[in-house]
Homo-oligomer: 598 residues x 2
C-alpha cells in the first residue's frame, strides 16, 4: 500500500527520479562509497553509491553521473549503510514521552518508521487523543504509522474508561490514510468464541485492505493459534517461547520477536531462527514498550539488533528483521524497508556489523541525525488544555475514603491479588486480616496492602476496593494513573493518610506516578498529558523516573519494574484476579466477586 507518511508520492516524482538516474538532472544528494547492506538479496555490496532526489532513491550503484551543480555529496568512506529501521509494534505512551519527543529520542538510533498503537491515550481521550498524537508526531521526520486501537476498553462491562471504540469507529478510521492497520487485537477470546463485534472490528480492517496486528499470548499453538490466525491477524508480538514464534512463522504469521524495557523475550524467541535454520522472512523484531532510560542508555532498534547478533542471528538477517521483513508484513515494501530505486530515502550509516552504532540518519532524503543527536529543528507542539487536564475524579479523596467497612468483628477473610514479579499474570489468594472498629486493616507484616481504583474520566465518583500482595513495601503508599488499560487512578498503600496523599498528589499534577511515605512525597513522575505522558525531554523524564525508582526502593520494594507490574493490577483480561473502578473481577470466569470470602 502507498504511504501518506512519505514526503512525496512516487507518482508525483517518478519523472524526476528517472531523470536523475539517467544523468539528465543532478541528484539532490549522493552517498558515495558505502558498503550497502542489501536486505533484498542478503549481501554486502562494496563501493556502492546512492543517488537521492525528491525524498526518494533514484539510483543504487555507481552514481558518478548523478552528481552536478547543487548536489550534496556525502562520502561514506566505506561505512555501512542500511535501510532506516522500522519498529513493527510499539506504544509511544510506555516511554512516558510525547510523540514528538519519542521521535526525537529514537531517530538518532536509526529508527525511521514505527507502527504504533496508541491504545493508552485512546482509552483516556478517544480519537481526540489519537489525533493529537498524530499531529505531534507529524512535526518530526519519523514515519509514525498508526494502527488504530482495537480493544478500547480492554474488557467491556468491567471497567469505565475514557472512551469506547466500536466496529463503526473502526470502519470510519480505516478510511484515513494515517491509519495503516488495526492495533493489537487483544480480544482473542472474542475471536475464538465468534463474538460478532470482535469479528466486525477485524472485518472492517480487512475490507479496507489494511493490516490486522495481533496479540495472542496463550501457549496453545494448535487449534487456538490456528483459529486466531484464520481470522486475519497478520502478526503477533506475544511470543515468549521459541515454539510460539516458530509456530507462528510456520502458520504464515509474522512473529514479532520482542525486546522491550521490561519484556526480554528475544534471547528465547530468537532460537526459532537460530536453532531451526528456517527461512526467516516471517520474523520481525519489535520493542513494544520502552522506557525513557532504555532509550537514553541502550537505544532502540539498534540495541535490539545488537542483542540479536549476540544471540547468534546473522547480522544481515537481523537487519532484515527490522527493515524489509517489517515492510513486507505491512505490505509497504514498495515504499519502505530497502535501499532500492523508487523507495523513500530512509537510510542509516552504521560503523560496523559488530558494534552496530548508528552514525547518521537520513529520512526522506534529509540528514536528520548525526552521532546520536538530531540535527534538524523540530517545530514545537502545544497540547491543548483538554489533553493536559484529564483528571476528573468525582469525589474528594481523604484518608476516610480508604476505610474498608465490614460486618465482621475481629477478623475478615478477603480476596487478595498476589502479583508475580516480572510476569504479567497474578494469583488470587484468600487471606484473613484484622478488623478494627468495623474496618478491615492492611497488614504490612503479611505484605497485604490496600488497593483502590478511582474512576478518573467522567467524574462518576466510583471506585473499586481490594488488597494486593507482593510489593513488600514497609511504609507509605504509591499511586499511578498509568493503570492498564482504562488508566483510572490506582492507589496502593500501607496506611490511609499516605494513600490519600498519593492520590491527591497525582490529581494535583494531572496524573503520573508517585511514592509517598509519612506525609512526604518521595518521588513523583508527573504525566499531565492524558495522565500518561510528560511533555518534557527524554532526559528530564528519565531523571524523574530514576528519582521515583529510588523512592520505591526507599519504601522497601525491590522487584523489577514495580510500576509496570502495578500498572497491570486493573487489566481485567489477564488471569487471575484484577481490580477495576467497578470492583474485583474474577478473570477466569469474567464475573465480579466480593472482597470478602464467606
Amino acid at each position: 500500500m502507498y504511504n501518506k507518511f512519505c514526503k512525496k508520492q512516487l507518482w508525483e516524482c517518478s519523472k524526476e527520479l528517472v531523470a536523475v538516474a539517467m544523468g539528465r538532472i543532478p541528484a539532490e544528494t549522493v552517498i558515495k562509497n558505502a558498503k550497502l547492506i542489501n536486505v533484498c538479496t542478503k549481501e554486502i555490496m562494496e563501493n556502492t553509491d546512492v543517488a537521492i532526489h525528491s525524498s526518494r532513491i533514484a539510483l543504487v550503484g555507481d552514481a558518478s553521473h548523478c552528481i552536478g551543480e547543487g548536489t550534496t555529496v556525502i562520502n561514506a568512506h566505506g561505512m555501512y549503510i542500511a535501510p532506516g529501521m522500522l519498529d513493527g509494534h510499539i506504544h509511544i505512551e510506555s516511554s512516558m514521552l510525547s510523540a514528538g519527543e519519542y521521535a526525537r529520542s529514537v531517530i538518532p538510533h536509526g529508527t525511521t518508521g514505527i507502527y504504533y498503537d496508541p491504545h493508552e491515550i485512546c482509552n483516556v481521550m478517544g480519537t481526540d487523543g489519537v489525533d493529537l498524537m498524530i499531529k505531534d508526531a507529524e512535526r518530526t521526520p519519523l514515519k509514525a504509522m498508526l494502527t488504530y486501537p482495537s480493544c478500547v476498553p480492554a474488557v467491556p462491562g468491567f471497567e469505565d474508561s475514557g472512551s469506547v471504540v466500536t466496529s463503526q469507529d473502526i470502519r470510519e478510521q480505516m478510511k484515513r490514510d494515517e491509519v495503516v492497520g488495526l492495533g493489537e487485537m487483544m480480544n482473542f477470546p472474542g475471536i475464538h468464541f465468534g463474538a460478532d463485534e470482535t469479528h466486525a472490528i477485524t472485518g472492517e480492517t480487512l475490507k479496507a485492505q489494511k493490516i490486522i496486528t495481533g496479540h495472542y499470548s496463550i501457549p496453545d499453538t494448535g487449534m487456538g493459534l490456528n483459529a486466531y490466525i484464520a481470522s486475519g491477524a497478520r502478526c503477533c508480538h506475544e511470543s515468549t517461547r521459541m515454539e510460539d514464534a516458530l509456530q507462528k512463522m510456520r502458520l504464515g504469521m509474522y512473529a514479532m520477536l520482542r525486546e522491550g524495557s521490561a519484556w526480554h523475550d528475544l534471547v528465547e524467541v530468537s532460537r526459532a531462527v537460530t536453532q531451526n535454520k528456517v527461512d526467516s522472512r516471517f520474523a520481525v523484531m519489535v520493542s513494544d514498550d520502552t522506557h525513557p532510560h532504555t532509550l537514553l542508555k541502550d537505544g532502540h532498534l539498534d540495541h535490539i539488533v545488537r542483542k540479536a547478533i549476540s544471540f547468534g542471528i546473522d547480522p544481515i538477517e537481523a537487519i532484515q528483521m527490522v527493515t524489509i521483513n517489517c515492510a513486507q508484513c505491512f505490505s509497504m515494501d514498495n515504499e519502505l524497508g530497502s535501499i532500492t530505486p523508487g523507495k523513500c530515502a530512509d537510510i542509516i550509516f552504521v560503523d560496523s556489523l559488530e558494534n552496530f552504532n548508528v552514525k547518521k540518519v537520513i529520512i526522506d532524503g534529509d540528514l536528520v541525525a548525526e552521532n546520536g543527536k538530531m540535527i534538524c529543528e523540530l517545530p514545537s507542539f502545544e497540547y491543548p488544555e483538554k489533553a493536559m487536564n484529564t483528571m476528573h475524579v468525582g469525589e474528594a479523596i481523604t484518608p476516610e475514603t480508604f476505610k474498608i467497612k465490614t460486618d465482621k468483628k475481629d477478623k475478615a477473610t478477603v480476596r487478595v491479588i498476589e502479583i508475580i514479579p516480572a510476569k504479567v499474570g497474578d494469583y488470587e489468594r484468600h487471606i484473613t486480616l484484622d478488623v478494627k472498629n468495623g474496618y478491615i486493616e492492611a497488614d504490612v507484616q503479611k505484605d497485604v496492602l490496600k488497593a483502590f481504583v478511582f474512576e478518573r474520566h467522567h467524574n462518576t465518583g466510583t471506585h473499586g476496593v481490594g488488597f494486593v500482595k507482593g510489593f513488600n513495601i514497609k511504609c507509605g503508599a504509591m499511586a499511578s494513573t498509568v493503570a492498564h488499560d482504562a488508566h483510572n487512578l490506582l492507589v496502593v498503600g500501607t496506611n490511609d493518610e499516605d494513600m490519600a496523599l498519593a492520590a491527591n498528589t497525582l490529581i494535583k499534577c494531572g496524573g503520573g506516578m508517585c511514592a509517598v511515605c509519612n506525609g512526604e512525597v518521595l518521588g513523583c513522575v508527573d504525566l499531565p498529558l492524558a495522565g500518561l505522558m510528560n511533555v518534557g525531554t527524554a532526559e528530564e523524564v528519565s531523571a524523574k523516573v530514576e528519582g521515583l525508582d529510588k523512592a520505591w526502593k526507599a519504601i522497601g520494594c525491590d522487584i523489577v519494574s514495580p510500576f509496570m507490574t502495578m500498572a497491570l493490577i486493573p487489566l481485567a483480561c489477564l488471569p487471575e484476579l484484577r481490580l477495576t473502578n467497578r470492583g474485583l473481577v474474577d478473570c477466569m470466569t469474567f464475573s465480579f466477586v466480593d472482597l470478602e470470602v464467606e
Copy 2:
C-alpha cells in the same frame, strides 16, 4: 490486497473458520497425513493435516477434531502437499486457446492462479476483448488475475491497431476489482525519456495501489535499469542473462525467471540464485508464452519447477518461486501462496520432490483435478459473433496486390529485414533485387521474400510493403494474424499467387496462421477468436499446430518456432527494422523509411 477471485472474502467467513479450527463445527474437507511443503519457513512438515471450510484454510496441524458429520476426508497417505502454483506473467493468447480452455489445460498441472496480460486481444478488440476473456475465465476455478495492458498500441503513431489504451483508460480500469495491476510496461524508452503519457499510465496504477509489472529487455543494468525501477515497476520477466536477474533482485525488483515454449531463459538466469547463494525471495518463475503442445506434452509451472530443480535450485526454494514469492510480488500473500490459516484453500498434491508430478488439485476447497485431468464440469461459454469476426481488411487482395512498383529499370536496392533465428532482434540489410516490367521481384535464391502487412481492424485498406530474409523457404507463402502487437494481417511469400491465397485463406477463416504452396493450403491453424485464438480444445489446436509445423518444413523452413519469429516482424519497438501496415520503420531512430535505398 484482497482478491475478488477468492470464492469468499475472509471477513465473510472468519467466524466459520474459527469455529472449525476450534472444533465447534466440522470442516467441509480435511486432508489427513500429508507432507506439507511449508513455503513460509522453507521446511517439510511431516504428518500434517489441513482443515478446509468456506473455501479457505481453517487449520494446519492436527485436524482430528475438525472431522465430523459431512466432512470429506482426503487421506494424503504421506504424499506432499504444496500451495497452488501461481504464474506471475503470462499471455493466454500465446497458447492459441480461449481463456477457459487455457484454464482447463493448466489447472491439472497444479496452476491455481495466473497474472495475465491480455494485450494481444486488447490490441484487436480493446476492453470488449479483455472483458470477454475475463468472462470466459470466470467459468473456471482458475484465479485469472488481470494486469491491464499498458502499451496498446505498442508503438503509437507507427501502426494501426484495433484499439488504443490511454492513461484515462488505465485510471478507469484500475477501479475494477478484476484488475490487480498494470500489464508489462514495455515502453521503457517512454519511462526513460520522461514521456508524460507513459508516466501517467504508471502513475494511475500507483495511485490505485496496484502493481506495475515490468518489461525491461535491454542489457543496461546500471542507470537504465535503476531509472526504470524508480518509476515503480515491481517485477520484470525479461532477463536473459544471469546478471540481469541478479541485478534486478539486488535493486528490489522481482526477477521473473522465464521458461516459455520459445524462450528458454531459465538455465541461464537460474544461476542468479544457484551461483550467488542470495536470498531468493525476489525470484519468481513464469512462463510468459506457452504453446498448446508444450502444455500438453510438458505441462506448465510443474514443468518449470522440474527444470529449476534440474538446474540446481533447491526444490522448496523452486516451489517458493511459484507460490509465496509471487504472492508477495503482487501483495497478495494475505490470500494466496501458502498453506496457512485464512488463505484460500488452493492446494496441490505432488508425488515427490524429484518427479514433481501433480496428482490432485484443490482450488477454493474443491477438488477440481486429479491425475492430470479436470474432474469438475465447466459451464460452456459462447463468444459473441463480434469476437469471432475481426477480419476487417478494407481491400480485395489478389495477386496484383503484391506487385511492388519501382521507377528503376533492371535492379533496385531495397531495405530487407533479416530475422535472427530464436532471437527477438533483427538486422537491416540492403540488397539489390531484379526488376521486371517495373516491379521488384522476390529472390528465392538469395532468400529474400516479399512481406506485406494489411490493416485488418478498421477497413482502412492500408498496407505496408517490405522484404524479409532468413526463413529459407523455397516455394509458397505463409500468413498470420498473430503479428505483434497490432495483429494486422502479415503475409510473407515467394510468389504473388500464393501470397494472395495465404491472405485470403486467413480472411476466410477469421484469422490464424497458414502455409500454402502452389495454390494448395498445406497447413492452417484457424484462430477465429480475435484472429488470435481457437475455441477448440488444447488437443485439437495442438494437432493443427503440428500440421502447420509440417507444412512449414515442407516449404523449406527449419528454424525453431518460425511463426514466433515471423510474428515479431511488425513489432516496431524492437531493433532494427520492422514492417507495419503503415510501412517500414527504422526502430533505431523511430522514423519511417523508404523501401528503396537511393
